[in-house]
Each structure stands twice: as C-alpha cells, then as structure tokens.
C-alpha cells in the first residue's frame, strides 16, 4: 500500500530522541525527509546538506532501501581500518507484518464487531501502523547521523556513494557464497565469544579493558532481557487500550436504550472510556518510544561495543602469536627479520586499536548515560502528563455523575 508520510514538527517527528544530538554539525547534515511504504519495501528519501569538498553539490537527495543501509553497515564492519571503532548498529528491518496481519484480519469481516467498534479498531490499528512506520524511519535516520557525526567514519568512500549516487545502488540480496561467508563468520564469532569470556586463556594486561569486558558482557545480556520485558509491558498497555473499545460501545448502546435515570450515567461512562482509551494508547506508545526503543538501541550498540572488544582481543592474540613466532625464529636463528617485521606490525596494529577502542568505549559510556538520562526524564514527564490528564477526566466525570444522582 502506498502511504506517503508527512513528518510533522515536534515530538512525534523524531520519536527516537537519540537523533537530536547528532544533527547539530553543519559541515555534514543527513536526514530522512520522506518515506514511502510499498507492498513489501520501504523507500527512504535521504537528504544531505554539506560544506565538505568531497560532495559535488551542497545539497543532495537520493532514494534508498533498507538493504542499502545493511550493505553500508557491512562494508564498515568488514573494513579492517575501522577495527578500533564501534560501528553504529544497522537499523532493524522494517517489520509491518504483525500490524498488516491485524488490519487484514479486521478487514476480513469479523461479524461480532459493531460498526462503531470496527471503526475504532481500524483507527487504532492504523495508528499503530503509522507509529511503526515513524519508528523505522527514525532508526534508519539515527544510523546515518551517527556515521555523519563520527570524525573517521564520515570520510568513508562508501558513505559518500550512499549519500550521493543518484542511481539505484542495486545491492542485491546475499547470494549463497555470501550467506555461507556469513555462516562462517558466525562460527568465528563463537570463537570470539570464547575469547572474550576468557576461556581461551589470553592474558589481559590492561585493567581498563578487563573491566570493560566484564561490564559489557553482563550489561548486554541484561539490557536484552529488560528490553524484552519492556516490550511485553507496552503490549499489555495496548491490549488494555483496545479493551476499552467494546466497553465504550456497549456502554453507549446501553445508554441510548436505558431508563431515563441511568441514561446520563451510561452515556457519560461511554464517553469516559473512549477518552481513557486514547490516553492509555498514548501511555503505551510513549513507553515504547522512551523505554523500549532506548533499550533496544543500547542492546544493539552494546553488541557493537562487544564486537570491538572481540576485534581487539583477536589483534592481541595475533600479537602474542607474533611474539612467540619471533622467539622461535630467534632461537633457531632463521628468518628473524620477517618475524621481527611481522611482530612490529602486529604490535602497532594492536596498540592503535587499543587506543582507539579506549576512546570509543569512553564515548559509548557518555552517550549511554546521556541517552538514558534524557529518555528517563521524558518518560517520567510523559507518564505524569497522562496520569494527570486521566485523573482530571475521571474526576470531572465523577462530578457530573454525582450531581446527576
């Protein structure tokens, strides 16, 4: 279905508040100005404003699909030059499946719903669809903005191609060879896991990294769990909001048919539940944006940080092996020069990586802290706002009903 999306100003347009901090550097500004949903893909319009010399024009506009973003991410993570950097996590695939299914099921003609209920459910589900849409746009935007903000990553050639090349990037889906490659990479990853969990016996000399390792391992696991639980809470709030629909409708029809003395009560109650539904729905979506999304993002980001640690440990392993090889060569007095050169290289590589990683991990921490702070404050403020609105609504209704008695 074709669905052009307007980006209204204000809170709703940037639901993922991570992006606000990034869009400040004038030398390179990236944003997703528009998005269109077509049957099974989403087309994003990426706009760039830059004063950097590499771009042919100060303002650019291209259309990209999700696969293009994934391709870009993979080029970064497979590039050894960026081994010491936390690669911003790729945005999740746009998933409208659940929402679409619900809308379809609704449309299939559930005869137990009255016309009023049907209209309200439809409204609710369409709102849900729109919210998911906005979120996916925000996720993709944040990814690009983090790349644009990073001093090293922003200069990447592929990034320019992504932002400027006005033809279709034709990033095809992975063929068998690449899938197999991915499979092997996963095996390597489990070896990495062994590395990082210290089962391989590598000696970690740097306290900073030792601390980070233990911290990230546990943190990532926890944040993943909390994210899952937050999602369930959000979905429960949604069901609750949906429950108010048939209640409101039933109360309304009772109100019109009841004896005079009860009419006001029921009609007022019907109105109340309708408005409570909207409030409850907003509670659900705010929890989604400020809590679930935050946790999801940091689940992915902490995984990226873990990946950095893997890479560093592999470099450390290489360095240690090179040392051993050099010792052996010296003992046998054979091919010492190449061994020396190799060892130098490994040492350099490892130390550069370590220095870069230290900076990255420190940045990661401060990013995390400020993101959590912002979102938790906003969450609390929104919850308060909704609770106050609900309370006022309820108290006003009570006044009317008590007066009616």
């Amino acid at each position: 279905m074709e669905e052009p999306l307007e980006m209204p100003p204000g809170e709703e347009s940037k639901p993922c508040s991570l992006s606000e901090e990034l869009a400040t550097d004038p030398s390179l500004q990236v944003e997703i100005s528009d998005a269109v949903s077509e049957r099974d893909k989403v087309k994003f319009t990426v706009q760039t404003k830059s004063s950097l010399p590499h771009f042919t024009r100060p303002a650019l506009s291209v259309v990209r699909q999700h696969e293009d973003f994934v391709w870009l991410h993979d080029t970064f993570s497979e590039n050894d030059e960026y081994a010491g950097i936390i690669i911003p996590p790729a945005p999740p695939r746009p998933d409208f499946e659940a929402s679409r299914e619900k809308l379809q099921r609704l449309g299939e003609g559930n005869s137990t719903l009255t016309r009023e209920e049907f209209a309200k459910m439809k409204q609710e589900l369409e709102g849900e669809y729109l919210a998911i849409f906005k979120k996916t746009v925000a996720m993709h935007e944040v990814f690009l903005q983090r790349l644009a903000a990073h001093p090293v990553l922003r200069r990447d050639h592929n990034f320019y191609v992504f932002l400027e090349y006005d033809q279709d990037l034709s990033v095809r889906g992975k063929n068998r060879k690449e899938l197999l490659g991915g499979f092997f990479r996963n095996i390597v990853k489990s070896a990495d896991e062994a590395l990082i969990t210290g089962m391989s016996g590598l000696k970690e000399v740097d306290e900073f990294f030792e601390h980070e390792r233990t911290f990230l391992l546990e943190y990532h696991a926890r944040v993943r769990d909390t994210c899952l639980k937050a999602d369930r809470v959000m979905r429960s709030h949604k069901s609750l909001a949906e429950d108010y629909i048939p209640i409101s409708v039933a109360l309304g029809s009772l109100g019109t048919q009841e004896v005079r003395q009860l009419q006001t009560s029921f009609l007022k109650l019907a109105e109340l539940f309708e408005r409570l539904r909207k409030l409850e729905g907003r509670v659900a979506s705010d929890e989604d944006l400020k809590l679930s999304d935050l946790l999801k993002y940091y689940m992915r980001d902490s995984q990226a940080a873990k990946d950095l640690l893997y890479r560093r440990l592999r470099a450390l392993a290489d360095y240690e092996n090179a040392n051993k090889a050099l010792d052996r060569a010296r003992m046998r007095n054979k091919e010492v020069k190449p061994a020396e050169a190799h060892q130098q290289l490994c040492c350099q590589h490892f130390e550069q990586l370590s220095a870069s990683a230290k900076q990255e991990l420190t940045d990661f921490k401060s990013r995390r802290i400020s993101a959590f702070r912002k979102n938790l404050i906003e969450l609390a403020e929104l919850e308060l706002k909704h609770a106050k609105a609900s309370s006022l609504l309820l108290r006003n209704t009570l006044i009317v009903l008590k007066g009616d008695a």
């Binding site: 899952l228 809470v233 048939p246 003395q261 009860l262 959590f372 609770a387 008695a405």
Partner: protein, 519 residues
C-alpha cells in the same frame, strides 16, 4: 385513571373512603378465620396501592414507578385507623396493614387476597410497621456480612464454612447483632425454599451464586495457591451480595425461612441442592420459558405494559451480557499487565545492578522500584474491575433471568386460566347434551363439575390478576433498586480509577528528580 393510583386527597373525598374502610374491617374479622386457600404463599407482605389496576394504560416503560405515594398512603391510613376505628386495635396493631389500602374498587377480589397477610399477626405486624416506616428511604435497618471462610473437614468431604453476621434493629429478630456459620449448600437451600414459595406468584427472588465443581474441588484437595484463595474470596463476596439483595426485599425479609437462616445456630442440612442450585433454577426457568414460547401462547396481551417490559428486559439482558464479556477481557488483560510490569521491574533492577555509572545505576534501581509499586496498583485495579464492576454485571444478568422467569410464570398462569375456561365450556356443553339425552343421574354430576370449574375459572382469573399486580410492583421495586445499584457501582468504580491515577502521579513525581540527578 390516574386518580385511582394517587392517594385519596384529604378532605371531603375521605368520606367514601371511610365507608370502604369499615367494610374492609368487616371483611377482616370474617376472613381472619376463613382464610382463602391460595397457593402456598405464607405472609407475603404485599405493600400494594399504586399499581393495582391492570389497566391497559400501564406506566410508560421508560419511567420507573418511583412511587413515593406509597408512604403517604400509609401515613394517611395510619391516621385513619387511630382516629376512626379505635375498636380495631385489639385485632390489628396500630399500623397500617396492607388490607386497608384496597381503596380502589377496580378489583373486588383484592381485599381478599390482601387479607392473607393476617395469618401471623403478632410478629408480622410489628415488623411490617418497621419496614413500612423505613420504606421512605427504602432502607431497612439490617446489615449482613459474610466473612471468615474456614475450611471444615478433610479430603472430598471438606467444605467451606462462612460466618454470616447480621446487625439490625428490626424487632422481628431476637437480637440486634448475631452471627452463624453457614456452608454454601445452606445458601442454596435457602434460595430453593424462597423460590418455591414466591417465584410462581410473581416475586423476583434473587438468584443464589452458582456452583463450581472445579473451584470447590481445588479447595477440597487443599491447594493453598492463589487461585483457590481467589475462588473462595469471589464466592464469599457473591454470597454476601446475595444475602444483601434478599434482605432488601420487603416480602422476603419477613419469610421465616430467611429468619431461621440468619438466626438459628443449627440448620437442617439442605439436600438435593444439586437440582436446586442457582444454575439449576435458571435452567428450569429457561426450560419453562422455552416451553412456553413453543406453546405459541398467543396471549391476548391486554396490557401493553407487560409486553414492553418483556422487550425491555430482553434488550437489557443482551446489552449487559456484551458489556460483561468486555469487562472480563479487561480484567484479564490488566492482570497480564500487572504480571508483565512485575517482570520488567525485576529485570530493570538487575540492569541497574550491572550499570557501572553510579548515578544511572541508582536511577535504574529507582525505576525498578516504581514499576514494582505500579504492578501492585495494577493488581488492585484489576481487583476493583472485577469485584466492583464485572460481578455487578454478572449479578444483574442472573437477576434479569429471574425477572424473565417471573414474567413467564404469569404467562403460564394465564394459560391455566384459559384452559379452565375451555374446560368449563366443554362441561357446559356436556351438560346440555345430557339434558337432551335425559339422564338425570349423570346430569347432577355434570352440574357439580360445572360448579367446580366455574370456581376454578374464577380462581384462575384472580390468580392471574394477582400475579400481574405483584409483578408490576416487583418490577417497579426492582428497577428502582437497579438504578440505585448501578449508579453506586459506577461511582465506586470511577473512584477506584481515580485512586490509581493519583497514585501513579505520586510515584512518577518521586522518580523524576532521580532521573534528573543522572550526570
């Protein structure tokens, strides 16, 4: 005509009334000894007056028969008794017995019907005075509590005993405050007795809570989990509401079985409660209803009021069922929300523990605490959703079934009357034939039978009019109660919702500075 339903105006119009009163008096003295044999209805405290007339101009269905005229009528009647017929006092206590009120000449038979109430003069009269004096606000001074469920016995023979406490100033009871232990089958037994006595003459007897094999088995087997405590609590609350509704009914309140139930320490075990449980009675009533419908009773409904009421209750039933189902879904989801919030709280606490930045760690722990408190709130709200809102709807769905049952009894009553008329006709025809055939011996028998069926027809008509009258009154009372009930419950429920929101505000306001303190 409206005038017939209003209290007779003071002044000259009194005169005709006085005469009728004196007639009534004679009627009393004679009927005290010769009680009409009517269907076994002991001491119905029929508080009639307003809706006696079975005119086709029934009150509009949309209006409730909120007749406060009743009280005025009694007040005046009281005056008249004391002023004008002092000699009556030894016979009747100085309070208005219903018999005074058949002022309306529409149905001659009504005084006779009313007089049944004289059977147990002493206790009855005093209590009826108290009840009628309170009838002003429809609040009888009696309060029932069902509490302290206690498991008695072991294994499959175990049962729950509930304490039933009564607080009252009504003098028909021996004490002002007393309590007894009753088990569930005792309640069912009480209901079955009341239903047997009162349903078929048109009284809306509140249905007893339903049996539950699954629920009870769990309790018997001794599972101490939350679902069986929930079940017991649900039942306790239902039993309490059942008794409270029953004692609110002015007629049922005077029933000796009810009194015995509330007062006596030992109660004979109710047997056969299987067949007579609330659900059982519902089934019987529904079967009767179906049978009646299938019988294509083309009842010549001379009274539009009944037709409208039938329709109205049918609609109400449907609507309430729908609403009830939706509210049950709400309860379920709120419980889910509570469980999910608890799980989130635990997880957030662990996240807080693993966070290495101190201020953020503390904020996350605080968030976990807030969420834990919110979980508690959700649980309490679900509790309110259920006990305040959902159970009320369930109760009224069952009550409306009782109302429909009573309307069906009226139809059956009418049918019986019609059948009697048909039989009478047949007997007359038979007699005519015999006359022609000239068989003197059989003729006498035929004439006797005719007399017998004439009486039956008369009785049938009286019964029908009586049940119609009772139902009108009952429905009026029922609707009044229903409006009060619903309004009260709605307000109570909204107050619980407000409470929840106020608490949420408190919690989040306490959390906000913690979040801001992250640096």
């Amino acid at each position: 005509m409206a005038a017939e339903r209003e209290p007779p105006p003071l002044g000259d119009a009194r005169q005709p009334e006085l005469e009728e009163l004196e007639d009534g008096e004679d009627l009393f003295t004679s009927t005290v000894s010769t009680l009409e044999s009517s269907p076994s209805s002991p001491e119905p405290a029929s508080l009639p007056a307003e809706d006696i007339s079975t005119n086709s101009n029934g009150p509009k269905p949309a209006e409730i028969i909120l007749d406060d005229d009743r009280e005025d009528l009694f007040a005046e009647a009281t005056e008249e008794v004391s002023l004008d017929s002092p000699e009556r006092e030894p016979i009747l206590s100085p309070d208005p017995t219903p018999a005074i009120t058949p002022v309306t000449p529409t149905t001659l038979v009504t005084p006779r019907m009313e007089s049944k109430s004289i059977t147990a003069p002493v206790i009855f009269d005093r209590s009826s005075e108290e009840i009628e004096e309170e009838a002003n606000g429809d609040v009888f001074d009696i309060e029932i509590n069902v509490s302290d469920p206690e498991k008695v016995g072991d294994g499959m023979n175990a049962y729950m005993a509930y304490r039933v406490t009564t607080k009252t100033s009504l003098s028909m009871f021996h004490k002002n405050e007393f309590s007894v232990k009753r088990r569930f089958s005792d309640f069912l037994g009480l209901h079955s007795k009341l239903a047997t006595k009162y349903l078929h003459v048109g009284y809306i007897v509140p249905p007893a809570p339903e049996k539950s094999i699954v629920g009870m088995t769990k309790v018997k087997v001794g599972k101490e989990d939350s679902s069986s405590t929930e079940f017991v609590e649900k039942r306790r609350a239902a039993l309490e509401r059942y008794l409270q509704r029953t004692v609110k009914h002015p007629t049922l309140l005077q029933d000796p079985d009810l009194r015995q139930f509330l007062e006596s320490s030992e109660l004979p075990r109710a047997v056969n409660t299987q067949a007579l449980s609330g659900a059982g009675i519902l089934r019987m009533v529904n079967k009767a209803a179906d049978a009646v419908n299938k019988m294509t009773i083309k009842m010549n409904e001379s009274d539009a009021w009944f037709e409208e009421k039938q329709q109205q209750f049918e609609n109400l039933d449907q609507q309430l069922r729908k609403l009830h189902a939706s509210v049950e879904a709400l309860v379920c989801h709120r419980k889910e929300l509570s469980a999910n919030t608890a799980a989130f709280a635990k997880s957030a606490a662990m996240l807080g523990n693993s966070e290495d930045h101190t201020a953020l760690s503390r904020a996350l722990s605080q968030l976990a605490e807030v969420e834990e408190k919110i979980d508690q709130l959700h649980q309490e709200q679900a509790f309110a959703d259920f006990y305040v809102f959902s159970e009320l709807l369930g109760d009224y769905i069952r009550l409306i079934a009782a109302v429909k049952g009573v309307l069906d009894h009226r139809m059956k009553c009418w049918q019986k009357w019609q059948d009697a008329q048909v039989t009478l006709q047949k007997k007359r025809e038979a007699e005519a034939k015999l006359q022609l055939a000239n068989k003197p011996d059989k003729l006498q028998q035929a004439k006797d039978e005719i007399k017998e069926w004439e009486t039956k027809v008369q009785q049938g008509e009286r019964d029908f009019e009586q049940i119609s009258k009772t139902i009108r009154k009952e429905v009026g009372r029922f609707e009044k109660e229903r409006v009060k009930d619903f309004k009260a419950v709605i307000i109570k429920y909204l107050e619980s919702l407000v409470q929840t929101q106020q608490q949420l505000i408190k919690y989040w306001e306490a959390f906000l500075p913690e979040a801001k303190a992250i640096s």
